[in-house]
């Protein structure tokens, strides 16, 4: 009798629709990982995390010259190609601790890649548990990234995220110990892959096999924190404020305009074109701002505190980036935080006076 019940239970279990949640970045690897698991009859849904540092979309949305470009969100596009639901999660606030206090340190710039991956897998695990999903998949490949996708760090992600053996990397699973879905027979390990290293050829061959001809530029580059110039501006922000913290507005503004710091206690954010000027307009009420009125020119935000002397220099820099940069005098309107505006008539700063080290 017990045997019969056991066989009935096994039969029942074999019919359970297993479910996996996939970290979907919008790149090729996670797209392939999802399809590999779908092919094995697993129900897959995608999860995509928004940290605020995502490159895609923002600069296109801000810059006027880019506004005609295709602005598709690649994570959504990938989900649609795969026929899966996608859940986009705002982790901007929680991500601060990842960036400010990375246990495993930073990569070449301010990118805390290993802590970031651990955090995202942990969040995916929480989501999976809340929604009755059995395991987590990612598009990670052993040896592909210098920090988070190494043979020695991939187990760290599984362990420290709490996912343990519920984390399956379909593209390189054969290079790693069998995970729970493989051991339980939910997925067939023989139909998983053994990709490794930085080469993209196996992924491209698999993409061709699945009939994927259109996919986003693969392998990274989606996060501003891997960008040297952005990281430099972020570190400058912390140094100037004397504390390592940021708000959403800060990280957005670091993506926009020319950043010029003539003195430790203030910097200028100079719009480079109409789209950026329009974007900076939204911050006029919370920053001292300048704009030339005798000539066409940029909107300039002043971040910090400024003396009268500083305001004159800021006005001269503003004039320097106006159409009147070769004129003898440019009239610049300065508006302080109390909303009061006044005009300063200044000589545009000459190229020699604008010190290279002021540029962030």
């Amino acid at each position: 009798m017990a045997r019969l019940i056991s066989r009935y239970f096994e039969g029942f279990m074999s019919q359970v629709q297993r479910k996996a949640v996939a970290l979907v970045s919008g790149g090729l690897d996670s797209m392939l990982a999802v399809r590999v698991i779908q092919e094995q009859g697993i129900h897959v849904e995608g999860i995509n995390f928004y940290t605020g540092f995502c490159v895609e979309g923002h600069t296109h949305a801000i810059r006027k010259k880019d506004q005609g470009k295709d602005k598709r969100n690649n994570a959504l596009w990938v989900a649609e190609q795969l026929g899966i639901k996608l859940h986009i999660i705002d982790i901007v606030e929680e991500y601060k601790d990842v960036l400010l206090n990375p246990k495993h340190g930073y990569g070449a710039n301010m990118n805390p890649c290993l802590d970031c991956k651990i955090f995202m897998v942990h969040k995916a695990l929480e989501w999976a548990d809340q929604h009755g999903f059995d395991f987590i998949i990612t598009g990670e490949v052993v040896g592909q990234r210098p920090m988070s996708q190494r043979k020695d760090t991939m187990p760290v992600v599984a362990r420290e995220s709490g996912a343990q053996d519920r984390l399956l990397r379909p593209l390189c699973a054969k290079n790693l110990p069998p995970t729970l879905p493989e051991r339980e027979g939910w997925v067939d390990r023989d139909k998983l892959y053994d990709f490794s290293g930085r080469t993209r050829k196996p992924q491209m061959a698999l993409a061709a096999q699945f009939g994927f001809s259109d996919y986003a530029s693969p392998a990274g580059g989606c996060c501003f924190l891997t960008d040297e110039a952005y990281s430099r501006k972020l570190v400058d922000l912390w140094q100037a404020r004397g504390k390592r913290e940021y708000e959403m507005d800060d990280i957005m503004l670091l993506k926009v305009g020319r950043h010029i710091r003539p003195a430790p206690h203030y910097k200028l954010i100079v719009g480079r074109e109409e789209g950026e000027n329009n974007f900076l307009e939204g911050y006029r009420k919370i920053y001292i701002h300048l704009r030339p009125i005798s000539h066409t020119g940029p909107l300039v935000l002043l971040d910090g505190e400024a003396s009268e002397e500083d305001l004159v220099l800021a006005a001269r820099i503003t004039a320097r980036y106006s159409k009147g940069h070769t004129a003898e005098q440019v009239t610049v309107q300065v508006t302080t935080l109390d909303g009061v505006s006044r005009e300063l008539v200044v000589a545009p700063l000459s190229p020699d006076e604008l010190k290279p080290e002021w540029h962030l």
Binding site: G57, H58, H60, A61, L76
Partner: protein, 77 residues
């Protein structure tokens, strides 16, 4: 069926999608949510999000610098 409004102005994608997603989760099937955005990328992203998650875009229009998208909440299937 009820009509609802969502102000997603001055947010850059994907925030308008995230706000739409979170608001839709609180609504009933058949309800209509009118989302107002200033990032024109929302014209691509919100309909894409609706298609993959079983909701329907009833229409979208531009009014000056704003885009307005009407979403009918699906049954979650």
């Amino acid at each position: 069926m009820a009509r609802h409004q969502l102000d997603a102005r001055r947010l850059l994608c994907p925030m308008p999608v995230i706000r739409t997603q979170n608001r839709v989760a609180e609504l009933q099937a058949g309800d209509v949510l009118e989302v107002t955005c200033t990032d024109p990328g929302a014209l691509n992203d919100i309909p894409a999000w609706c298609r993959i998650n079983g909701h329907k875009v009833l229409g979208s229009r531009r009014e000056g610098n704003e885009v307005i998208i009407e979403v009918e909440v699906g049954d979650g299937a």
